[in-house]
């Protein structure tokens, strides 16, 4: 006997796949169900995994004993975020937003400079005079990085020497986009394989074999 969960799973899968023929109410129903349930999932997940252990439990169980009173600050900021729905005091939500956006902007600045620009630039400083074939690949790497960066420099018109170098950059970008296309095909086919494998092995085969 196939569990009802598998039947629901399979029928909803077919509802979504029906869109390949044309848009229809079954697809729209499944799409709306997904939208609602996934948003409800976020709410439940937030409550179970973060708000309860990191905020509510310390407030309820440690209040007056060992309570970290400073936890009131993030709780207040979090509640302030929802003031945007009350028109008269919606401006107060900006305070929470300012803290949230400011913090992640500061973290992102350090992350991008220290974690992306510097290591990537450092690895582009490569030896080109020794190492056999590696020296040739290093030359290609350096030319590639510089020509792509020059291509993205739009403050001057791409003509003359700048135009020729950015042309080389475009070729490198085309190789990369082709590679990305190939990998994207692989990713999408994997998803299709997953769903078909479920339909055949978990739903149809047990149904046929009884």
């Amino acid at each position: 006997m196939i569990p009802i969960g598998i039947w629901v799973n399979a029928l909803l899968t077919l509802c979504i796949l029906s869109f390949l023929y044309k848009d229809n109410p079954f697809f729209r129903f499944a799409e709306s169900l997904f939208a609602g349930l996934s948003l409800g999932y976020y709410i439940g997940l937030t409550m179970q995994n973060t708000l309860r252990p990191n905020l509510l439990n310390p407030v309820i169980h440690e209040f007056g004993v060992n309570f970290n009173y400073l936890l009131i600050i993030p709780a207040a900021l979090g509640i302030l975020l929802y003031f945007r729905y009350i028109p008269r005091i919606s401006w107060m939500a900006r305070i929470a937003l300012a803290v949230y956006v400011g913090y992640y902007s500061g973290v992102t600045l350090v992350q991008k400079l220290h974690g992306e620009i510097l290591p990537q630039a450092r690895d582009t400083v490569l030896p080109v005079t020794h190492g056999g074939a590696n020296a040739l690949w290093n030359i290609i790497m350096i030319i590639g990085v510089f020509s792509v960066l020059i291509y993205f420099y739009f403050s001057a018109e791409h003509k003359g020497a700048l135009g020729r170098v950015s042309r080389v950059g475009i070729w490198f970008l085309m190789i990369s986009f082709g590679a990305s296309f190939g990998y994207t095909v692989m990713a999408r086919v994997s998803l299709l394989m997953g769903r078909f494998s479920f339909l055949v092995n978990t739903w149809i085969r047990p149904m046929i074999s009884g």
Partner: protein
């Protein structure tokens, strides 16, 4: 034959061909060979050098949309870690489903080994905050995750004594879709020095080669191919794992079986590209005459 009409064939015929190509190997598996590559072998070799004195974080940063690619990867990596008796700390930073993927894969694999929860492995569950969580874990992992996925306090668990913060962690493995894998490589690795290995969906892999080359990632497993390569290395190294993957349920769900579907559909799509271009050039030639 009207070549120009063939350029505008009903797309549903294309869909049918793709569907047929994907279904055939599922119904009748082919069993094509897999050759491991260096970026994948780097992770295998690193894990082979570790043992019970090492603690590894495995972060489930993906959801159902990446399940077919990353579940086989997760299964193979967890099996390898448990075979080496490495302490495993599982957590999730991806909101839509990371928690569920962690639970289901971990629960499936731990039954195959003689392990004690809280001593050999722990599932800390999901936490919001992304970069804030990653930064805070440098000070104390138990502070960020005061309870595990089932609400049990983590501070007193024996495994957490071996995984207080990043300085105790020998390797961090992120199974990621989207940007979270990058954050481990461009925030945690450069700022805290933790070696990072990323298993990602094939969509992200081309970009991550840049992090791999710069040493911000010590290995990279890209998509289903990466998963199948790791399975191959594991099966070649451990007879017990080979037997596990011979079981019908495991075989059907393995990345190696999935590569059969990849192979057929890739050939179909390449044929479409070539055929489409042949007709395009042929009709262009006709037009210019």
């Amino acid at each position: 034959m009207n070549l120009k009409k063939m350029l505008f064939i009903d797309r549903r015929i294309i869909y049918l061909l793709v569907a047929a190509g994907a279904l055939y190997p599922i119904i009748r598996p082919i069993g094509l060979p897999v050759i491991p590559t260096k970026p994948v072998a780097a992770l295998y070799d690193a894990v082979e050098k570790m043992g019970p004195e090492n603690a590894v974080i495995v972060s489930f940063d993906y959801g159902p949309s990446s399940e077919p690619e990353l579940n086989p990867m997760a299964g193979a990596i967890l099996r390898h870690l448990f075979l080496r008796k490495i302490k495993v700390v599982v957590l999730a930073l991806f909101p839509l489903g990371g928690n569920e993927e962690a639970k289901s894969e971990l629960n499936k694999v731990v039954d195959e080994y003689d392990l004690q929860y809280g001593v050999d492995y722990v599932n800390l569950g999901y936490k919001e905050g992304g970069q804030a969580v990653m930064k805070r874990m440098a000070i104390s992992i138990a502070d960020v995750f005061p309870v595990d996925v089932d609400g049990r306090p983590t501070a007193d668990m024996p495994i957490m004594a071996q995984a207080k913060n990043y300085s105790d962690i020998s390797l961090l493995i992120s199974l990621a879709t989207g940007i979270i894998g990058e954050w481990w490589a461009n925030l945690v690795n450069p700022q805290f020095g933790v070696p990072v290995s990323v298993g990602c969906t094939a969509v992200s892999a081309p970009k991550y080669y840049a992090y791999l080359r710069a040493g911000q990632m010590m290995s990279l497993l890209g998509g289903l191919k990466g998963a199948s390569e790791y399975e191959k290395l594991l099966k070649d190294g451990y007879a017990s794992v080979r037997q596990t993957y011979e079981k019908p349920e495991e075989k059907k769900a393995s990345a190696t079986t999935g590569m059969d579907v990849q192979s057929i559909v890739h050939v179909i799509i390449i044929a479409f590209i070539v055929f489409g271009n042949v007709i395009f050039f042929a009709t262009r030639k006709e037009g210019s005459k």
